[in-house]
Symmetry: C2
Subunit: 131 residues, 2 copies
């Protein structure tokens, strides 16, 4: 089957440096972070507005793409299950999905609250939240 | 910057065949569809449960990846804006994001309600909805 190329459009800048330190969900105390976008997507970044929520898609570059089943870390009572029923970063196409609040937009830099992604995580896409 | 390879894990089977016929949002009347997964992700698909909502990530293979700004189709009064403030499929990394209801799971085939993706759309990932 045809494959497709993800070309990162920026990087997460965060005090989180180790994947094992990253909380699994934002309400578990993830710190704020900067999204640093590349110059060649400046016109697209202009659509991001402060004081809104956005959907941030990342690439979990430290993920294990061979993992198909996991024991959900957020509910140890659940049995081993297929990764498509979980939010585990380990999965065949490790795209991360984060709904985050935009605090500030400064050109190519966007400040967001509570992001559970480590420093250097590649940014794939940003979408408007549909309420 | 390093790029990454998306390897599709299945395809959407839908009566929608033309992108221009696809409603922009599911509440605009998108039809039901089958998700047909590849044999090599069977163990991951086993985590998908009927009568739940899932987040389906697709690859908009017909998208124009050079588009950075757009006039939102769902609100013609809005001015031209950066695609990261919209849900336009045309964007640098055209990953589609769809929250859909699972009606039936039949091995590698999963029936979902109201999916705004055309027949043949590559499937990238499935995630549990966090409520």
């Amino acid at each position: 089957m045809t494959s497709y190329e993800i070309r990162p459009i920026g990087r997460v800048r965060s005090p989180l440096v180790d994947r094992r330190d990253a909380p699994r969900q934002p309400d578990e105390g993830a710190p704020g972070a900067w999204l640093e976008f590349d110059e060649d997507v400046r016109a697209a970044v202009a659509g991001i507005e402060p004081d809104t929520d956005i959907l941030l898609l990342t690439w979990f570059h430290q993920a294990d793409r061979t993992v198909l089943t996991t024991r959900p870390r957020d509910d140890p009572a659940r049995p081993e299950t297929g990764v498509f029923g979980t939010r585990s970063p380990d999965r065949p196409n490790p795209v991360g999905l984060h709904q985050v609040h935009v605090e500030e937009v400064d050109g190519l830099r966007v400040r967001v609250a509570h992001l559970e992604a480590v420093d250097g995580t590649p940014i794939v896409d940003v979408k408007r939240v549909i309420s």
